[in-house]
Symmetry: C2
Subunit: 339 residues, 2 copies
């Protein structure tokens, strides 16, 4: 069933069918309704490839992330797809598995599909591949990833407010010895979170001891190792703030191993506010990253660029984080046992 057959059966030209399909205002009311009914009766579905070939757009947005299994992403994907759908746009989804060659591949295929834009949220980067895609004047948006110097539109998160709220929360509970686990220095977001932590500590005039600072690999194991290091000192922190949830969970594991009870012997705070936070026993307090806003801004920016045929970098406001208190933080009641 194609537009030809419908036209023949309706006794009009394909142009009219097309106009009805696209809700053009220049169709007589009665014709419109008659055709509409016929289309429904015939179960006719227009061919998107033909349509896209003709109009030169695909009504398709690409979304590339490092890893669906990383629990940071599903919510992002969810909201991205939801936003796109509301605009009648489908989403082609792909992941790189942290391989920058695969990022190049993914981008290439997005170009072939003639997508109206691509949002990228990966920890690995491939400037060359991005540049290649940009050369096809494909709208491109990065999400919370690259440094501020990137030539592409970038959705950035301001980590300050959340970290400040977290430190204030711990401070008010009575914590003075607060440890911190950061991620690898090469990530912009890692540096940013560390800066946010330091600023919040300074604001409260809290001491930042080198032996209360550690670096982890952003995974659970790294959190275990870093946590072990922080807890082996003579004077140990009564609370540990981790720059992501996975490592905070690692800290909970190592605490349990060492016979420390969270939160009474040790308070733990994460960063990201993954869904898993509320599943932990006790539930993990964490700094929320507004993944819904990130997705919304990305879709909007992409569509704007695509409609205005303007793939220049857009300057967007930073998104704010916010602290969510749960069961993993409490007064440092049995802190005395800790030295």
């Amino acid at each position: 069933m194609d537009i030809q057959s419908v036209a023949k059966l309706a006794g009009v030209s394909t142009a009219t069918i097309s106009r009805v399909l696209n809700d053009s205002p220049h169709v007589k009311r009665s014709t419109y309704e008659r055709v509409k009914r016929l289309i429904a009766e015939l179960n006719y579905v227009p061919n998107t490839s033909a349509r896209n070939l003709r109009i030169g757009r695909s009504k398709l947005l690409g979304l590339i992330v490092s890893d669906v299994n990383n629990p940071f992403f599903p919510e992002l994907i969810d909201h991205f797809e939801r936003m796109a759908r509301e605009q009648g746009i489908d989403v082609i989804f792909s992941h790189t598995n942290y391989d920058s060659d695969r990022l190049a591949h993914c981008l290439q295929r997005m170009v072939e599909r003639n997508v109206d834009g691509v949002a990228v949220c990966t920890s690995e980067m491939n400037e060359e591949a991005l540049a290649a895609a940009a050369r096809f004047s494909m709208p491109l948006v990065l999400m919370n990833q690259a440094g501020p110097r990137t030539p592409y539109t970038n959705i950035v998160v301001d980590h300050d407010a959340g970290a400040r709220e977290a430190i204030d929360h711990l401070y008010e509970l009575g914590h003075r010895r607060i440890g911190f686990i950061s991620g690898p220095e090469e990530f912009e977001s890692t540096r940013d979170r560390k800066k946010a932590f330091l600023a919040a500590m300074q604001r409260r005039e809290l001491e930042v001891r080198p032996e209360w600072m550690a670096v982890g690999d952003l995974h659970l194991e790294g959190g275990q190792q870093a946590g072990a290091r922080l807890l082996e000192g003579r004077v140990r922190p009564t609370a540990i703030f981790s720059s992501n949830d996975l490592m905070a969970i690692g800290v909970m594991h190592i605490a349990r191993e060492k016979g420390l009870e969270v939160p009474h012997d040790l308070s733990v705070v994460g960063f990201d506010n993954l869904p898993v936070c509320s599943m932990m026993t006790p539930p993990l307090s964490s700094v929320d990253i507004p993944r819904d806003r990130i997705a919304a801004e990305a879709v909007q920016a992409l569509l704007r660029q695509s409609e205005e045929k303007n793939t220049e970098k857009q300057k967007l406001a930073k998104l704010r984080t916010r602290f969510v208190a749960r069961g993993s933080t409490a007064k440092p009641a049995r802190a005395r046992r800790s030295s």
Copy 2:
């Protein structure tokens, strides 16, 4: 840059360019290489819409799930996309948010996109929408969802082996009083898991008391409530087997609230083996559902149907589950405290 321009620059016809693009064997070696080089130089990327319009296929597979945020799905999506990519196929992803009207919508859009097939993994169903899609002779595969009576190809999981291994594991640890939390009776998979549990219990000649059985909503909260009920009896179970991980986690929460330590006061076993299992403290023992195999079979079945233009139901072997022991199960050491 289109195939015309490339042809002109190469001094050949578009047919030859097309043949090179598609690695046709009927091109002289030297021509092939010259054109290949030129294509690379020009950064020419063929237009997929035009290609698909011509060949009548889209090289696109649809994937519809209920909810990306449900941690069961990411791994499935991951493997599905990986398998498809290996065949040079992209994946359009969509989710229904447990709304069967949205399932209809999603399927409709897949038809419009002219996808080569759709895999559906949702708890809600919409027979009418599936039938409508099937009428367009669109290959359709259900994943681990509908009953055996469905007219569509269905990837089914056999829950027996995993449940048997789990019960055997508990039995060998010394557990005799084993409680069970099932999901809502209307789900095929729920009934199947319960049957697997009962068979495994009977095999070991273990007593199944009504007060050790409960029904939950498959979410964490339902697990808490069901767990609370199982633990309030005079003679309480020393181990609880939940028919999904989320409810098992709920049991861990309620145990903690009641001052019971997992695993010493209560062993807990889940079903699904979500990534979150290994994050819990203690890590949750669980029955693994082979999500990678489900995805692989789905992609294969879809491509087979699509190539053979045969959208008839395929009879596939059931996939096997397997028990994974972790820290949430141990000897019922302090079981005496429990009566």
